[in-house]
């Protein structure tokens, strides 16, 4: 083969390689930008990040609880920065609660559950007495006197 043919072949191969490389690179997903202001860490081992889709917020923002609150964080932050005072207060309150929850040991969780359970039992007993005429009569005649 002549020398010029070799050169042409090598050149052609180089062009093909460059074209293939470029088309392959253009198919790669873009590197996710590191957002220093991201609200929720992506912790796939634990929980998914808040869903990317638009979250429908309730009228009463303070009713957002647990998962719904976490999903609504970006939207709440936008509203708060935009001047919605209720969004700001909900964020402030509930992030405060989250700070507390994060620190709780298993033992503390059990203790709090026990306290809430005892409180619930107490409330139910009081409600029983209030709403049952017989119990109420007994209560007023015999317990409180």
């Amino acid at each position: 083969m002549r020398r010029s043919t070799w050169v042409l072949t090598v050149l052609l191969l180089a062009i093909v390689i460059v074209v293939m490389l470029r088309s392959w690179l253009s198919r790669q997903p873009p590197e996710p930008a590191v957002d220093s202001t991201s609200i929720v860490e992506s912790a796939p081992h634990r929980l998914p990040s808040p869903s990317a889709k638009t979250v429908a917020l309730p009228d009463e923002l303070h009713t957002l609880e647990d998962r719904a609150f976490i999903d609504a964080l970006p939207a709440l932050e936008r509203l708060a920065n935009g001047g919605r005072q209720d969004a700001l207060r909900v964020l402030f309150d509930k992030l405060g609660s989250c700070t507390e929850y994060r620190r709780q040991s298993d033992e503390e969780i059990r203790e709090r559950a026990q306290e809430r359970y005892a409180h619930q039992i107490e409330m139910n007993s009081a409600a029983d007495v209030r709403y049952s005429p017989i119990k109420s009569a007994l209560w007023s005649c015999c317990v409180t006197s």
Partner: protein, 166 residues
């Protein structure tokens, strides 16, 4: 069982909250300052009261500048509210300045001034609050008598300047 459900819900909440970044939790400081700048009274009451902003020492270290700025903003917001004769803020700030607020500066003289103003601005003299008397007594124990008297006079002056008396 209800008790087991409560425990499960506590564990779930902890896991959910673990997904919130420390940056977002620190952002509470910015949110608090924003709320104060917008004149949110409930935030003033919350911050001047006890237990609203518990932070661990590392968190405090990380946010030292923000915390100092928040303290300054809160102090100004309290003063603005007191200047409007807001008795509830006076009451909260009296406790907060004495020992309870994690944000307000501990200032026994300010506690005496706010407590005195609260009592002196009561619509009915019979509405005196024994807890305020206690704050004054406890805070006074930390100051020389002249400073106590000066703080009392400051409280009375607040009322004379800013409250419409009965």
């Amino acid at each position: 069982m209800l008790r087991d459900q409560l425990i499960r819900s506590g564990v779930e909440r902890r896991e959910l909250c673990a997904a919130v970044t420390p940056r977002m939790l620190d952002k509470r400081l910015e949110l608090a300052r924003l709320a104060l700048a917008r004149g949110d009274r409930s935030i003033v009451l919350m911050l001047a009261g006890p237990g609203s902003f518990r932070q661990t020492p590392p968190e405090r270290m990380r946010n030292v500048h923000q915390l100092l700025a928040l303290r300054r903003d809160l102090t100004e917001a309290v003063q603005r509210r007191v200047a409007g004769c807001d008795r509830r803020v006076m009451h909260r700030a009296a406790f907060g300045s004495y020992r309870q607020s994690p944000i307000l500066e501990l200032d026994p003289a300010a506690a005496i001034a706010y407590a005195t103003a609260y009592d002196a601005s009561a619509p009915d003299p019979a509405d005196g609050d024994s807890t305020m008397a206690q704050v004054i007594a406890d805070a006074a124990a930390q100051l020389p008598p002249a400073a106590v008297e000066q703080a009392r006079q400051r409280g009375l002056q607040f009322v004379a300047d800013h409250c419409t008396l009965r």
